[in-house]
Subunit: 272 residues, 2 copies
């Protein structure tokens, strides 16, 4: 069972922390902070980390693809090209493998989900967000998250989420939605609606254990004014995002990639 997730967002939005919080997996070694003399990166890199994890008794071959440099330059025109090329290259690899005489085992390296990190400005999507999402949405399942959502009060968060969703609708951007199957039972439908009602997911990441007010050691962030708990659904949507990715919609993410996004790519490619 392979699951390939790409993370896209500007530096400092907590991407590596979130991946660590979600999967207990380090995107890079202990992060050496950039030395002042060190040259800032000039191009976007594509880096990936793979690990076998077990979730609810299901063994998952998980790959996380990181895109350091995205959005970090003075000029971010074309910042999505490297990302699109990588997604396409994976489709091409699958296409080749599919066409081989012996295709008993095909490695599925296609990207099944792209977690897109939105700056918690409180305003709405940025020019870069809109430009990039329009490039990505026909190629990969987009799951938008509001990064470092501890920046926003509950009130600000509600307003922010609705403005983001309005932008997404207005710009015709397709984000990953719960599929509606006629044979879904009431309970599944309700669970789906509950999860997706939270989109875009307001996340907070932390792999550190801190002491909560009641003395428990919890994953969270400790401030002079209070302790925020990652796994507390009153504090952020982390739990919902994790459920979506590894429990409730794991199959759907893989299937939509295989049956819809990949097929679309293949058809376009063969018709050229």
């Amino acid at each position: 069972f392979s699951l390939n997730i790409m993370v896209v967002g500007e530096s400092g939005l907590g991407k590596s922390t979130l991946i660590e919080t979600l999967f207990n997996m380090s995107l890079y070694g202990p992060k050496t902070p950039r030395q002042p003399g060190h040259e800032l990166a000039k191009t976007i890199e594509i880096e990936s980390v793979t690990a076998d994890i077990e979730e609810n008794g299901v063994r998952l071959h998980l790959t996380v693809v990181d895109t350091p440099g995205f959005g970090d330059f003075v000029n971010n025109t074309d910042s999505w090209k490297t990302i699109i090329d990588n997604i396409d290259a994976r489709f091409d690899a699958y296409l080749d493998a599919e066409n081989k005489p012996n295709r008993v085992v095909i490695n599925d390296d296609r990207i099944h989900a792209c977690i897109y990190f939105i700056q918690p400005t409180g305003h709405s999507l940025s020019a870069l967000d809109i430009t990039v999402l329009k490039q990505l949405h026909r190629k990969v399942n987009i799951i938008p998250v509001i990064a470092k959502s501890d920046m926003l009060t509950d009130e600000e968060l509600l307003a922010f989420k609705s403005r983001i969703l309005a932008d997404i609708a207005h710009q015709g951007i397709e984000i990953f939605q719960p599929p509606k199957y006629d044979n879904d039972d009431e309970e599944t439908q309700l669970e789906n609606e509950e999860i997706f009602a939270k989109s875009p997911f307001a996340v907070v990441g932390s792999s550190n254990l801190v002491q909560a007010k009641d003395g428990r050691m919890i994953r969270g962030r400790s401030y002079p004014w209070g302790v925020i708990e990652v796994d507390n659904e009153e504090h952020c949507d982390f739990v919902k995002l994790r459920q979506l990715l590894i429990r409730t919609h794991l199959e759907e993410l893989r299937e939509r990639t295989a049956n819809q996004l990949y097929e679309q790519y293949r058809t376009n490619k063969l018709l050229e």
Copy 2:
């Protein structure tokens, strides 16, 4: 007594909130959130708001110059040109006024301080920060602030501040420093050191009153996990920044602009 402050930073970093918190003055009317259909700005605007305020019995003719659009585009190359042009235009206006036969009253519209907002990424200065600060530092007193510093834990903040200062030193960027006068008494020197030890200032802004744990109504931000208080020096450096701007270094900001930055501009201009 005129004080002209420019604010520079990407959208959503809390600039208008901070100005309101510092001076009780609105940078714009009640902010109409951008409608989804509304075109994103294509160029940087320069907007200014003026008010007469009283501070410690001193009447201040305060102008705040905002730079909406800065850093908000996909391509931010030259994003500083509009800003530099505005600073230069003000120097030119002063130069003309100085050269007039009748110069009994010269309006001082020169920018006395530029509050530069740094994204609270936790990493260090961005490529844009470095590029822009290098353009600005010889023309205006730079006061760097870490925007929305409630994003960072005390530990992260200390590390972030030292990396920023290391970047600033390494890049040869001049930020506004306390002047050392031989005739300064011990107490003034100590007060100066205390204030500047906090640079870059970690700010949190709020003009809303919320209820603190002990029941007091305070300016701050209320989260499910705690209430952050703007005027509490354990929570952020807002108080220090305000003291610097309107009490301890008001004169120095105006004098350095007049005697050093403006004179340098004038000399360069006349030698061309």
